[in-house]
């Protein structure tokens, strides 16, 4: 019976797998009423991801951002969330990589790069991305931003699909500045 329960638990919970990649240099700057996120995703381009992109498949890295209030209670901490989808498409004929940036489903930028290094840079380095608007939040609150990257999915035992994600990374805590 214990084995059955363990198997059931595994089947239900094995929906995520830790990635080797990790988020570093994560920082949040406040520009007026906007929170600008910057980060670097390291060790993301493993063999799987490189092969997938070079094969011409549409390949995405999802960056999940969550704006949390700094408090002990866990159930009402999250204030807002946003997702940046960085999609790369390789054209083997023209030998170019087209990179699209979509924030919460809306296209915000597109780039074309011709070499792998530029592609990696384009997909893993986020600079000053305005992820959240701080409008409407009390000025007295201390908040923080959490970020997680999702690098597609893979299968366990050739059967169970799991999403490849990094750990959540937290920014420094900051107070919402008064309106200028």
């Amino acid at each position: 019976m214990k084995a059955i329960l363990a198997l059931l638990g595994f089947l239900l919970l094995a929906s995520e797998a830790r990635a080797d990649a990790k988020i570093s240099e994560f920082k949040v700057d406040v520009d007026g009423n906007r929170a600008l996120a910057s980060l670097v995703l390291r060790d993301a381009f493993d063999h799987r991801l490189s092969e997938r992109i070079d094969s011409g498949l549409l390949t995405s890295i999802l960056y999940h951002f969550e704006l949390h209030r700094d408090r002990k209670r866990w159930w009402d901490r999250r204030l807002r969330k946003a997702t940046l989808e960085v999609t790369a498409l390789h054209d083997a004929v023209s030998r170019e990589y087209t990179v699209h940036y979509k924030l919460d489903g809306k296209l915000v930028e597109s780039r074309t790069v011709r070499d792998r290094r530029s592609l990696e840079e384009a997909m893993t380095r986020i600079e000053q991305l305005p992820v959240f608007s701080l409008d409407g939040l009390p000025r007295s609150w201390r908040v923080l931003v959490k970020a997680q990257a999702e690098l597609g999915s893979r299968t366990i035992l050739s059967l169970i699909p799991v999403a490849i994600t990094t750990d959540w990374k937290e920014s420094r805590k900051f107070r919402i500045p008064p309106p200028s």
Binding site: L11, D54, G56, A92, S153, T155, L159, P161
Partner: protein, 734 residues
């Protein structure tokens, strides 16, 4: 109405089953179609992450459902077995068989199919075409690389050549144009263009290329070249087929760090359209192959998940069907077993309420009918039992009443059971037989009445006759007792003897009274008979006296006549007295062994031819055993009976004397065809001096009766059929 309800109920069940089967068919068709189409669908769609997760969670749900269904039923079965529910073992075996029979093939099929699929997928990607595609792609890309390198080299050379020109001088333009034309021809390029920053300076085109318009590389391209020093791109020009591959090299013509914008030289080569198309197709096909390789795991997962889903659906369906079929069998059987338990416990009102339209339904209906009949029979039995109890009570009361009556009647009543043992004996009987109750109850008549006197009753009961009535004389306690013994056999409806009843009536006092009355009658008759001759004697004597006193001359004659009368009457008196004396002095019988047939023949011979027209015969059994009787007395009794019979029979008539043993007795019958005896005379027939003939002494039949009773026998008179009278004398053989 009941039949209609059953039909509707079964139709509903069938609809449910048919609906389930149709749904399963649809699911299987859809899954089969999906599997079939999966080869035609784009790999990106088949390996879509959302689809994979959906398939996975559908499978998880199915696994949970199957597990729940199986575990729930297993748990229920185990609980039923633990609580020893009737029929649970049979149900467990049946369900295990059904589910096992469906589980094992499906699981084996799934394992084989997944193995086959894995192998097939591996074989797809291990085909010899893979290296060919890879090398082709490498060649195609090398072609591009070579053109790119050549174009870059050519553009660099042109850039170096441009250092000899001052591009801002208008006079230099013609010389620049000529030089560019020469370089274009020398380097076999199709396009050569010069820009200052993003501003166009000059361009030359190979007229053989067919380019109608000057290709415009675009601002972005030029900016990239200025930023990175070089840039390369390829596109399909609008004016001519083929692919134009252009390379840009940026550099400064003056001193480094000057304010002049960098010069960008663009060199272009138009690739043959056929070659370009072939190269593109080669690259695209290799890309498609690489995509498949990259998606191999997802592809395998999606197929496995589809297989797993089909397996689970089949498993779920087969398990459900197995459980349903098992339930179809076990539920009626369990209900029947439970019903049997309840009914054996006495609850005959229980009915098995199970829907089944097969043989089990027939079994359930038969069971319910049987139970109904049992209930009806039980009610009938209970009613019968109540009636029986009431009857027994009534019988007991009746028996008590009869017992009370029997105890108080003067007659002795003795009953014997079917085994011939004395069952009851009332006080009157005990008193008559002078015995105690413990001497007779539960014993056979031979045991109870072993002495010679009472043994007569035992002999009477041994007689195999339905109804016997006989006078029995016994010497009990020094007193002669005369009983009228009546034996009646008690038979059931089939005629089998279930017992006997012996009724004794003490006739001793009655006979004494009858004898007293008889003696009174005899005295009266004697007085009358004596008086009859006395009157003529007295009249004769008075006549003689009168003749003598009158000195009648006829005195002598009168004396003669008177004396004759007196003497005759005196003789009559003498005869009468002698007869009476003989009757009174009749000795006790002295039995000796006699030859009864001979005695009968001799006696009958006395009466042959005595009366014309009246035949006198004897029918004596030749096998008659020797008997011990007083021969003279028996002869005298026979003579008296034959006297009466011959006299009563008118010619033509017949008198027959027969003798034979009957039931241990000697039975002598004298039958005539005479006028018969009226019933009212029969009671007085054996009394002394009773006569129907108007003459004689009337002592004949009284003497016969005396002789018979002295021999411990009996005599009775009956009508002869069709005419006449039969006197039957019964004498003991021993």
């Amino acid at each position: 109405m009941d039949l209609i309800d059953r039909l509707l109920r079964h139709r509903k069940n069938h609809r449910l089953i048919l609906g389930g089967l149709a749904l399963l068919l649809c699911v299987f068709t859809a899954l089969f179609y999906l599997v079939q189409r999966s080869r035609e669908l784009p790999a990106a769609l088949v390996t879509n992450r959302v689809l994979l997760f959906v398939l996975w969670y559908v499978n998880v749900v199915l696994i949970l459902v199957v597990t729940f269904v199986l575990l729930r039923n297993l748990f229920k079965l185990l609980l039923e077995r633990r609580h020893r529910v009737l029929g649970s073992t049979f149900k467990f075996k049946l369900v295990a068989t059904y589910v096992g029979l469906s589980l094992i093939p499906v699981l084996v099929l799934f394992i084989l199919a997944t193995g086959l699929l894995q192998g097939s997928i591996e074989r797809w990607f291990n085909t010899p075409a893979a290296p060919v595609l890879e090398r082709g792609n490498a060649v195609a890309q090398a072609l591009y690389d070579q053109i790119e390198r050549t174009n870059v080299a050519d553009a660099s050379r042109v850039l170096r050549e441009l250092r000899a020109f001052d591009l801002r001088e208008a006079q230099e333009r013609p010389r620049l144009a000529r030089r560019l034309q020469d370089l274009l021809a020398e380097m076999e390029l199709d396009l050569l263009a010069v820009y200052e920053g993003t501003d166009f300076v000059h361009a030359v085109v190979n007229p053989q290329s067919g380019l109608a318009d000057l290709p415009e590389p675009g601002r972005t391209f030029l900016t990239q070249a200025m930023d990175e020093g070089r840039a390369f791109t390829a596109y399909e020009p609008s004016s001519v087929p083929g692919r134009l591959m252009i390379a840009a090299v940026a550099g400064t013509l003056g001193e480094v760090g000057g304010e002049e914008p960098p010069v960008v030289v663009v060199a272009g080569t138009l690739l043959d359209p056929v070659l370009a198309e072939q190269r593109e197709r080669l690259v695209q096909e290799f890309q498609a192959y690489r995509q498949l390789v990259v998606q191999k795991d997802d592809l395998r997962a999606s197929h496995l998940l589809l297989f797993l889903m089909m397996t689970l659906v089949i498993l779920l369906a087969s398990s459900w069907v197995g459980l349903y079929l098992a339930r179809q069998v076990t539920v009626p059987i369990q209900a029947l077993a439970e019903g049997t338990r309840l009914i054996s416990g006495g609850d005959l009102s229980h009915r098995v309420e199970v829907e089944a339209d097969d043989e089990l339904g027939v079994l359930v209906d038969s069971f319910n009918r049987m139970t109904q009949e049992l209930q009806t029979n039980k009610e009938l039995l209970e009613r019968g039992n109540r009636d029986l109890v009431a009857s027994n009570q009534r019988l007991a009361e009746e028996r008590a009443r009869i017992a009370a009556v029997l105890e108080n009647v003067a007659a002795g009543v003795i009953s014997l059971d079917a085994r011939g043992r004395i069952f009851t004996c009332n006080n009157a009987a005990l008193h008559m037989l002078r015995q105690r109750e413990d001497e007779v109850i539960g014993k056979t008549p031979e045991e109870a009445w072993g002495d010679p006197e009472r043994a007569r009753l035992a002999a009477l009961l041994r007689e195999d006759d339905g109804r016997i009535s006989r006078e029995v004389h016994m010497l009990l306690g020094g007193d002669w007792k005369t009983f009228e013994a009546k034996v009646t056999a008690l038979r059931d409806l089939s005629g089998v003897v279930q017992g006997r009843v012996l009724v004794l009536e003490d006739l001793t006092e009655l006979i004494k009274a009858q004898q007293l009355a008889a003696w009174n009658e005899a005295a009266r008759r004697i007085a009358h008979e004596i008086k009859n001759p006395l009157t003529p004697i007295r009249l004769s004597a008075e006549r003689l006296l009168r003749k003598h006193q009158q000195r009648d001359p006829g005195l002598g004659q009168a004396i003669e006549n008177g004396v004759d009368v007196i003497v005759r009457e005196v003789l009559n008196l003498q005869e009468m007295v002698d007869e009476f004396s003989r009757y009174a002095r009749m000795p006790r019988p002295r039995p000796t062994q006699i030859d009864l047939p001979r005695l009968v023949h001799e006696t009958v011979n006395l009466y042959r031819n005595l009366k014309p027209g009246v035949a006198v015969d004897s029918e004596v059994d030749g096998g008659l055993p020797p008997v011990r009787l007083d021969g003279e007395q028996i002869r005298r009794a026979l003579i008296n009976l034959l006297d009466n019979a011959v006299e009563a029979t008118e010619a033509p008539g017949r008198v027959t004397v027969s003798a034979q043993p009957v039931n241990g007795h000697l039975e002598i019958q004298v039958a005539d065809t005479g006028r018969g005896i009226p019933p009212e005379w029969r009671e007085k027939l054996f009394l002394p001096y009773f006569s129907t003939k108007g003459r004689g002494t009337g002592l004949g039949l009284a003497i016969v009766h005396r002789i018979v009773t002295d021999h411990h026998g009996s005599i009775r008179v009956e009508d002869n059929v069709p005419k006449g009278t039969v006197f039957t004398v019964e004498l003991p053989l021993e």
